[in-house]
Amino acid sequence: MPRHQSFTECLKIGVDTGGTFTDLVVIQGQTIRHHKVRSTPHNPAEAVVRGLRELVGRTPIDQLIHGSTVATNALLERKGAQVAFITTNGFQDLIAIGRQNRQELYSFIGATKPTLLKRQNQFTVDERISYQGRVLKALTANKVKALLQELKQNKRVDAYAICLLSAYANSRHEKILQRALNQLGKPISISSEILPEYREYERAVATLLNAYLSPVMRDYLDSLDKSVNSRQLHIMQSNGGVISAARAQEEAIRTLLSGPAGGVAGAAAVAQQLGLGKIISFDMGGTSTDLCLIDGAVPTTSTNSVDGIPVSLPMIPIHTIGAGGGSIAWVDPGGALQVGPHSAGAYPGPACYGRGEQMTITDAHLYLNRLHGQGLLGGTMPLNKDKARAPLRKLAATLKVSMRSCAEGILAIANAHMENAIRVISTQKGYDPREFTLVSFGGCGSLHACEIAKSLGIPQVLVPNNPGTLSAFGMAISPWRRDYSQTVLLKTAKNLTAKHIQKRFQQLYKKAHADIRREGEVPKDLSFAESVDVRFQGQAYEINVPFSTGFIRSFKQKHQQHYGFIHKSQAIEVVTLRLTARGRQQLFQPDFPMRLKKSIARPFDQRSLKYDKRDYTIRYYERDELPPGTRLKGPVVVCEYSATTFVPPGFKLRVDPGGNLWISMS
């Protein structure tokens, strides 16, 4: 493994702010350290600062990479800025109408969440551009002046979002407005910069969201920057790369899935170190499970939505389902046992935490001895089995089954939900799960991973080192990355050559180089990747393929692979050009062996376990007491600070030299 000079010198820290904990990972040279502090939701920066102080004291940090939930939470809780939205005359309700569909098919009541944009904050200008970029109705100086007057009267606005029809084809009018509005002294987002692609609603809502989130992000990063002694402050984006904090303040929309993206990046990095090309990352926490299929490189797609709002910027496609340790079990009016989608969350939490009264997945694990009663987080969070018994008894009585089968049933149903979710991202997309490794992390993932893998025919499960801080690790090693796009709508014909398309890419390169200059510290070893969104003329969906002279052939191959057919005579259309600029993926191979407490694995406890109607003795081990080379046969439970792994009967576990757990069927 080659070692990189830059690593041996700099102090790099990844910080992931979660709902309950803020995780920190320090990388210095070839050593790595982990730390966890309680999150401070009222001001997330507090926990970050405290964690840093506890970890490195006042040592100056070279690079701090932060996965921030600030943008996500501002959106989910609808606590963003007051935005004035400016569009073309006749289309003031663009955001309100959206795609004119409703979120819930079978509900008499529509959305209950407040809208992002107030009606009194909608403004229009009398202008129009054609789809070819021709000015049909000019934006005169008088019209701009009149708009400015109107806007000046609206003092309660924090930011402006401008999205004019067909601005993807010609940004002139938007730029005129941007220049004019600059004198108002508030941040301005314009659609031809945020997402220069066609489909007006998606572009408009991205612009609006950016304006809505950026002021919140700016306030947060300002306060963080003041209290942290780091030469560089970087923010994790939803696309799996990082950008400077200065840039993140302007383009907060790019950080919406910051946290989950860190998890996938971490899983992918571990997989890469271990030579695994095909993995399914499985991150099960307290309220939900995040899944992502990786076949080679970490994928990104541009057709995403967050909280029902389309976000058409490149993001890692993460499939989330509402199944977590806190998911509540209940009986429906037809007499069937249901698990989720409601969760007891962190508060009151599962019944065994001592505050709640609802039966959850965690309670079922505890009752069945798959969790040890000594508790979570190194015993600082004890679990009370008696508290779990009461709601289980009640539920079992309703169902007229034994408490054991009720608890087993809860887990079987949760597993079935997660198996179906893995099928959605694998078999439904044309991938065979039997070729993949399940990389399990998050607090609850490894309690379920083996049984799910068995059911789907997944041959092995990998539980990486420190699964509880994998997201922070993923952030710490993620490279700088920025994405650029431009809708061009070019019909391929004899006169459209790759050279012609290449020319159109030049404007994206120009933007990229301008950005890189602005970043201050130029990222090392930058590389560029060109790709194009292509479709058969008349189709509503595009396929993204790398751009080369043979891009049409690769488009047809991919079309055949995904959809099972191609149209031999149908013309082809290049819809959007995409350019990604990124720094080099940083390799990290920590120095081992880890500090181990023991040289031979010894269980710290054992209990009886009933599994598949047979009796076993289950042994409990501490993970930091499992030396490399250890081999164990299920049933075994491996406890560690932030996660628990259940190895059922019929499975075997191996600890590799790096301390990772590998589990497969015996």
Binding site: F91, D93, I97, Q100, S166, V331, G335, G409, T427, Y541
Partner: protein
């Protein structure tokens, strides 16, 4: 017979996932935007008696009627069915809806059994099935003008596809490539469902699967009975009307007498109008679909994909009538317009029993516009079809949503920038129609104003409703504002009827103002 409540939920999840996987396959393999982007299709698994066991949550207007298509299609062909067969039908009068909705049914034979044990079916709205107008929803007075009419027949015999049938059908439609691609995608989806069912049988065994399919049907019946039990006993009647049938100016009445007693419900629509000359006739299966939709809305909100049982529900219709259409009357609008009014009528009756749970009437129309002609700029023929949303009815504790599709549809709009880049059209306005929501303690949702400018001569068909009869309010709330259609020529507005076929010139505009939803409660 006893069952495990745990296994019941696991089987429900498995079979629902099977249907969802079929839907994903269908969506991915299909070509037309109608299926791929608007997702106008459904997939389901049926018992040997044609009862729906599981379904994927797709589009409301299909669900509830597919079971009838299965039983009707199988009836005549029962003795000749073999493993590997696939039936095709779009017969509106045998469990269908309208001609563009084509259903493919695969009988599933278990080893050693002579009769099918399950049926797998997909139904998809094809973008064009021939007939008098692009999109196959013309303003006509006979079903033969609405497109190809496929009575239940074998498309695949023992695994062998009848290519001659496909070729002959494709010859009669406007976009044969898309038609064939979409039929193939349905075949692929059926095959996928069959494969997953075989996997499940391998893993869990035939006997247990069959037992749990029966348990599931009973479970769905219990869920449905629980919904009906929640409605106070009584007899509730309600009537509303369609503006006209596009041929005469007479309103068309839809009337319901609803009887609730204990866990049973009787829906009696026999006082509704006779069959109409124009295409607003609804088949009986559409009425079932509307009932299923409303009952499902009343179900436990946190159940993710419950299937409804028809067992505790009886439906009475007069045959022939506007809610029980017979051959050869036209039915194109029954599915898209009359279905909305049937829902309004069911809700109107239920509002008397459940005043707090039932909302005021929504927009009540899908506001269909279909157009086409020859594009002089791109030098090719063009066709475009769109449905426009309106106002949702207000409810006891919330105002109605504005500018959305309601009840029986939920398709997406075509982005303006896509319309303009593809067709000789310009959209000059797309906004909410202020003042259109019915007043009340909670206001009804607002309709939409949409104005198209034509850049060349174009044939236009409008199929709309609630242009005269407004969407009703409830509990003292006022009705929403009815919709309006205009032709704007040389700056002058001319009011158009609710259903019309016309030829427009370069520079003309069509302006559609869609209805607002009804208000709820008296304003203070």
């Amino acid at each position: 017979m006893s069952f495990s409540p745990i296994k019941l939920e696991i089987y429900r999840g498995l079979l629902t996932a099977l249907c969802e996987e079929m839907g994903e396959k269908l969506r991915r393999v299909s070509f037309s935007p109608n299926i791929r982007e608007r997702q106008d299709f459904s997939c389901a698994l049926f018992s040997d008696k044609g009862e729906m066991v599981a379904q994927a949550a797709h589009i409301p207007v299909h669900l509830g009627s597919m079971g009838l298509a299965v039983t009707e299609a199988v009836k005549g062909l029962q003795s000749s069915l073999r493993s590997g067969d696939v039936l095709i039908t779009n017969d509106p009068f045998q469990g269908g809806t309208h001609l563009p909705d084509i259903t493919l049914i695969s009988p599933i034979f278990l080893p050693g059994r002579k009769r099918p044990t399950f049926y797998i079916a997909t139904r998809a709205h094809h973008v064009d099935v021939g007939g008098d107008a692009p999109g196959s929803m013309p303003l006509s007075n006979h079903i033969s003008s609405e497109g190809i009419y496929i009575r239940p027949t074998k498309l695949v015999t023992a695994g062998k596809i009848n290519q001659r049938l496909i070729t002959s059908l494709a010859k009669q439609v406007r976009l044969p490539t898309e038609f064939k691609a979409d039929l193939n995608s349905q075949l692929a989806a059926n095959k996928n469902g069959e494969q997953r069912l075989t996997d499940i049988i391998h893993k869990y065994g035939v006997r247990e699967l069959c037992r749990y399919v029966n348990h599931l049907l009973d479970y769905e019946e219990r869920l449905t009975r629980a919904v009906i039990r929640g409605i106070p006993d009584g007899s509730y009647s309600f009537a509303d009307q369609l503006d006209d049938d596009g041929f005469s100016n007479e309103p068309v009445h839809i009337a319901l007498q609803l009887e609730i007693s204990g866990e049973r419900a009787i829906f009696d629509f026999s006082a509704s109008s006779d069959e109409t000359q124009g295409p607003v006739n609804a088949t009986r299966s559409i009425v079932w679909t509307c009932i299923t939709y409303v009952m499902r809305c009343l179900m436990h909100a946190t159940l993710e994909s419950p299937t409804l049982s028809l067992r505790p529900i009886s439906l009475i219709t007069k045959k022939p009538s506007v809610v029980d259409a017979t051959f050869p009357c036209p039915v194109a609008g029954g599915n898209v317009e009359t279905s909305q009014r049937i829902v309004d009528v069911i809700l109107g009756a239920l509002a008397q029993a459940l005043p707090k749970e039932i909302p005021a009437a929504s927009c009540g129309s899908m506001n269909n516009i279909a157009l086409g002609g020859r594009d002089p700029f791109r030098k090719r023929p063009f066709a475009y079809y769109e449905t426009i949303g309106g106002g949702m009815g207000a409810a006891a504790d919330t105002p109605g949503l504005s500018g959305v599709h309601t009840h029986m549809t939920n398709t997406l709009n075509t982005p303006i920038e896509v319309i303009e880049a593809e067709h000789p059209l310009r959209v000059t306005e797309y906004s909410l129609r202020h003042g259109s929501g019915g007043q009340g303690r909670h206001r009804g949702g607002l309709g939409i104003c949409r104005e198209f400018e034509f850049l060349c001569a174009t044939e236009v068909t409008l199929l709309t409703e609630r242009r005269r009869q407004a969407s009703y309010g409830l509990a003292g709330g006022k009705a929403g504002k009815p919709g309006r259609n205009y032709l704007v020529r040389s700056g002058r507005r001319r009011l158009l009827p609710s259903k019309v076929n016309l030829r427009v010139k370069t520079g003309d505009r069509i302006r559609m103002e869609t209805p607002g939803g009804g208000g709820f409660g008296k304003s203070d």
